[in-house]
Amino acid sequence: MTENLLIRIEDLDKSFPGVQALRKAKFDLRTGEVHALMGENGAGKSTLMKVLAGIYQRDSGTIYLDGKPVEIHGPHGARALGIGIIHQELNLMNHLTAAQNMFIGRERKGRTGILLDEKAMNKAAAEMLAALRVDVDPKVKIGDLTVAKQQMVEIAKALSYESRVLIMDEPTAALNDAEIEELFRLIRDLRNKGVGIVYISHKMDELKRISDRVTVMRDGEYIGTLNTAEATVDQVINMMVGRPLQNYVRSGEGASQQPVALEVRNLNQGRTLKDINFRVHKGEILGFAGLMGAGRTEVARAVFGADPVDSGEVTVLGKKVKIRIPKDAVAAGIGYLSEDRKRFGLALGMDVQANTVMATLSRFLGLGAFLKNKAMAVVSDKYIKTLSIKTPNQTQKLKFLSGGNQQKVVIAKWLLRDCDVLFFDEPTRGIDVGAKFEIYKLLQELAEQGKAIVMISSELPEILRLSHRIVVMCEGRITGEVSAQEATQERIMQLATQRSAK
């Protein structure tokens, strides 16, 4: 098999000030294969690939291309060697068209040599997109395309440099299932044409669907490589976290006998939400499933008073409440943990303590204006212990904590407000596999303590694992509700794609 090795990386070291990001890392890639690269956040996957793509320079080690050692000088050099990379954060210019994006840095000029030849670029871009069977008009501005289409453009751009190696860093992070299917179709096409593809992902189910081999990294080191067909998910997880994870067993099946904590009736909001009705009991985890853009986040935001609604009635613990702004919702005992905790949930530059008491600051005031430091310290210490937040101390700034621990601080903040109903919007997005299980456990404990939990998630396995009941949405409507017992991926996907007749 060694004769068709496209890339071989040996003993690669890379350190940044204060961290050894890669330690004797190795990796190889064959022509015409999809090679998954897995590992927790900080395992060094992205760093390794950025070295390969010329964005970082290695400290030591060797990279072989077609068996010959090569030096990669910058992104330009990588491209010249046929190595292309699709970053997790798409690197496109929203104000430019698809064709202008694809030709950035190598614009075609007309006969004068000064003016740009837009027509030629549009034509060439159209041909490249057509060759990939991607349906995008080269003259459309990138900002007007869906994320999925943007990604296709980026792939077309990378391939137009005659790439033989294509690195994709978590390409499905923002895609819905139909779009993922389309992306996989494209990846398979490329594989059949002999392109070697490195596929970085967190998602276990994708591994089986798309990859031929999988390499696992942990703490900057190479752990091992498996043929995907022979590997089990548990095996890969074990390699990633370095310890076996006990599977969580769902409990609290009797939750539906408990009183109703939150009832939402007849919620309407323009074209985004149509006639939304649901209830969640105390001690229950209600899952909200659906494709991206189905309106799940919008439901949470509408109930929470973050967006105006046309109509709707909210009852909390039997009492009708009027919610016009988030403050009303909080007063009624509803908490909302945003999907984008960095933007809406936390002050990253402030410390653990300050973030924990952020929503309850009025309780820690002496003489109406002075902060009671001791009381705040006691409270934040309590939550650091009960939620096992991993931080050296409570004056650690949030930006230095991992995603999982940041999420726990958000949870602490809302627990301190004594909320009865908690909306969790994508609670494990951007969180390591190991920490995910801790968040799951936490959600379950909260439910056992009698909180009502609404969990919005795009990861079906997560919804299936945790929810007692699952509400499925499509195009702003609730298309069905299934109990934990009867829920399967197929059933939910069927409901999630049940579009209204037009």
């Binding site: 964005i55 992104p75 104000h95 202008q100 950035i104």
Partner: protein, 327 residues
């Protein structure tokens, strides 16, 4: 046809259409309120007073589209005017060479701003604030804080005030000053640079997503310097226009012009967050500012209130930009 309609009503074009409509509306209102407004010599005077601010607006349009800002254009204009005096009056360079040297001087100053921003990573606001003060000081130092008169060079005054588009015989009073012709000519050239050349493409691209351009293998720093240099060169043109109009380089003049120019760009739909804007929009924006001032003056509104009204217009324009972005 459909495409034309669509592009007319696209978010970007809407601001331009809106700006143009408000310009027309303003002209109609002023024409009704005062018979003096629509006099040919008043219209010519509006055009003349728009020329300098408009040229500066064109200059800053490039920089704002990259996501930057240039506060130094007002005082740099003065400095290039002074340098033009030095080159022509003191060094005795032939007039055309002197003019080119003044424009080149502006371009070099722009390149320095660009280098501060691109290489030293100083935020454009601060870098150009520093350049603004440096230019102001140098203008005073070099001129000895005294005006430089071009009285020995009759032709210098004609650059701005002369007219080879003299339609006086057809329409009495319709004598279009060269400054206006230069302003529009520069507008056309810059519009082509912005929309049809690589430099223009990178201007938009850098303002849209600088990191993406860098990762595409483009030497972003070098292009940024080039863009600031172009902007500086255009400022040099403004310096020539203003000094030729008053036939002297006034070293104390200039500060405040940068704000009018930025206001013109923003009113014309150039987005302060970068990536969007047109030369035509900026030109319309410059006209809105000067028609407003001129109209208010004709209606005998005190100058102090004229300034207040311009401030309100700028805030309104930026708010429109924010509304547009929210969609």
């Amino acid at each position: 046809m459909n495409n034309v309609l669509k592009s007319l009503f696209s978010a970007n074009a809407r601001q331009k259409v809106l700006a143009f409509a408000s310009l027309i509306l303003m002209i109609i209102v002023f024409a009704f309120l005062s018979p003096n407004f629509f006099q040919m010599d008043n219209l010519v005077s509006i055009m003349l007073s728009t020329a300098v601010a408009g040229v500066l607006g064109i200059s800053v349009t490039f920089v704002i589209i990259t996501g930057g800002i240039d506060l130094s254009i007002g005082t740099l204009m003065t400095l290039t005017a002074v340098m033009s005096g030095v080159f022509i009056n003191y060094w005795g360079l032939p007039i055309w060479t002197g003019l080119l040297a003044a424009i080149g001087f502006g371009a070099v100053a722009g390149a320095i701003s660009g280098t501060l921003v691109a290489k030293l990573k100083i935020p454009p606001f601060i870098a150009t604030l520093g350049m603004m003060m440096i230019a102001k000081g140098l203008a005073l130092v070099i001129s000895g804080a005294k005006p430089i008169y071009f009285t020995n060079y009759e032709v210098y005054n004609l650059i701005s005030q002369g007219s080879f588009l003299d339609f006086n015989s057809l329409v009495p009073g319709l004598v279009i000053p060269n400054a206006v012709v230069i302003f529009f000519g520069l507008g056309i050239v810059c519009s082509i640079i912005l929309n049809k050349t690589v430099l223009g493409r990178y201007t938009f691209a850098i303002g849209s997503n600088e990191e993406a351009v860098r990762l595409s293998g483009v030497n972003v720093d070098r292009w940024k310097i080039a863009i600031y240099a172009l902007a500086g060169g255009i400022v040099g043109v403004a310096g020539i226009l203003i000094s030729s109009r008053i036939n002297s380089a006034q070293p104390a003049l200039g500060q405040g012009y940068e704000l009018d120019a930025i206001a013109a760009a923003v009113i014309g739909g150039v987005s302060l967050s970068g990536g969007e804007g047109t030369i035509l929009g900026t030109i319309i924006g410059a006209f809105i500012m000067s028609v407003l001032i001129n109209g208010l003056r004709i209606l005998s509104v005190p100058q102090e209130w004229q300034i207040v009204v311009s401030g309100l217009i700028v805030i309104f324009a930026v708010y429109m930009d924010i509304l547009r972005r929210r969609k």
